[in-house]
């Protein structure tokens, strides 16, 4: 006994003749017994008949078409149509789009101006943030550097002065006396006086006050030496030496030198 065919594909296949002989006979037997499936079959037949009627109507419509002419019409479109994609050339015009296409003109002008702008930009080089070309240093750094230079200049001045004084106050050897006679000592003294003038501005600093006092004393001494001249007697020489010793100038110079050297090391 076959189960009910309603809502089953089998009944549709039966009506469309898609079932084999054995299956179709089984459906026949079921339909004889099942009223519901018979109703369903009638309903489906109405739908398929409607489709059949539509098909017949379509055939009437098809009879109105000239099937002999259609292939030629389509073939003409394929083989005989001009190539519409090929742009027409306007005679006597260099660029026909200019004459009637404002958008094309605008686009072309934009391209030209853009290309020119890019050319000039590239030629002049792309300017990014430039590194500072001049020497730059912070005020604090410059201050420290200046002080350092002042120290070194002062140390140099004191060294040379010490050497000159030492040369002068030591018991006169034949060489040193000869040097003074030839004016070499005088020249050195003059150079030291010039140097003192140069470092005076630097000695004005607060940190260099002590050094300035010693340098001033040394300057006076050297000035005196240049004035007494080359024919200094032993007596005069001894007086100068006594003044150096009495004022402990030697010791003071050494102390100031030591202090300048220490402060230089600390600042490093």
């Amino acid at each position: 006994m076959k189960t009910c065919l309603k809502d089953k594909q089998e009944l549709v296949a039966y009506l469309l003749g898609d079932l084999g002989k054995v299956e179709a006979e089984a459906v026949d037997r079921h339909l004889e017994e099942c009223a519901s499936c018979r109703r369903e079959k009638e309903f489906l037949k109405k739908i398929f008949n409607g489709a059949g009627a539509a098909h017949r109507h379509m055939e009437k419509v098809m009879a109105t078409v000239d099937w002999e002419a259609l292939p030629e019409r389509v073939a003409r479109k394929v083989f005989d149509r001009p190539d519409v994609r090929r742009p027409e050339k306007a005679e006597g015009r260099w660029f026909p789009a200019f004459s009637f296409r404002p958008a094309a003109v605008g686009l072309a002008a934009g391209l030209v101006f853009g290309a020119l702008a890019m050319f000039f930009v590239l030629r002049s080089g792309v300017r990014g943030p430039q590194p500072p070309t001049g020497f730059y240093a912070s005020p604090e750094f410059l201050d420290r550097a200046e002080l350092e230079l002042a120290r070194r200049e002062t140390l140099s001045y004191l060294d040379k002065s010490q050497a000159l004084l030492l040369d002068f106050v030591q018991p006169a050897s034949a060489d040193s006396t000869e040097l003074w006679r030839e004016g070499f000592g005088q020249q050195q003294a003059q150079a030291l006086l010039t140097k003192k003038k140069y470092i005076n501005s630097q000695l004005g600093r607060r940190q260099m006050a002590k050094a300035r006092a010693i340098c001033d004393q040394v300057e006076l001494l050297i000035l005196e030496l240049t004035q007494v001249g080359r024919d200094l007697t032993g007596q005069e020489r001894a007086e100068i030496r006594d003044r150096i010793e009495a004022g402990q100038l030697w010791l003071k110079i050494n102390l100031v030198k030591k202090e300048l050297e220490n402060s230089e090391r600390e600042s490093l």
Binding site: F43, H55, W67, V78
Partner: protein, 193 residues
């Protein structure tokens, strides 16, 4: 009817080769062979002669553009119908969607199918119109399969080849189409669901 569908792969392959070589007559022969099948599909799809004619012409123009993509050994009829089917679906989506929406607002009652004063022929004609409208409401594949089965009278295997799906799927989708049509038509055919 002048249509004689090409039989055999060799004959089809020879025809395609001649068309590729620029043979105008070969191209016209191919059109003669399939133009009515394409028309049937398109007419059933749209219910409109002019749209169907547009689809026929466009199908063969498209076929000529794609002639180099035809694979030898493949059914020429299936290939032609595939192109036609794709064009139908595209055309339907572009031009009939709005119409479909408008029609869904209109009741089928307006067709007055069960009017007693009409004769049997008139009722059959109206059933055809209602059916056409109900077919338009089906999903694309269901509509295509129903049309191919009942208007083109293609067998399940041929439909499966054209749509590139399994025959079982064709049967299943056809059954769904019938069920949907039954559901839409039952109030007008006097049969309970």
């Amino acid at each position: 009817m002048t249509e004689t569908a090409l039989q055999g792969g060799q004959q089809a392959a020879g025809l395609i080769d001649r068309i590729r070589a620029g043979d105008r007559e070969a191209f016209k022969d191919l059109i003669r062979s399939y133009q009515q099948k394409v028309f049937q599909l398109a007419y059933a799809f749209f219910g409109n002669r002019e749209d169907a004619m547009d689809i026929v012409q466009e199908t063969f123009l498209r076929l000529h553009q794609k002639i180099d993509t035809f694979r030898s050994g493949y059914s020429l009829q299936s290939w032609v119908m595939q192109i036609a089917k794709n064009l139908c679906i595209d055309y339907f989506r572009k031009n009939y969607r709005r119409r479909k929406e408008l029609e869904s607002d209109r009741g089928l009652d307006e067709l007055n199918l069960a009017a007693p004063e009409n004769g049997a022929a008139s009722r059959a004609a109206e059933l055809k119109d209602i059916l056409a409208r109900c077919i338009h409401k089906l999903a694309d594949k269901q509509r295509m399969i129903f049309v191919m089965r009942h208007y083109n009278q293609f067998q399940v295997e041929e439909i499966a080849r054209i749509l590139n799906i399994a025959p079982g799927t064709v049967k299943s989708l056809h059954f769904k189409a019938v069920q949907n049509l039954k559901s839409q038509l039952s109030p007008y055919l006097g049969v309970s669901k």
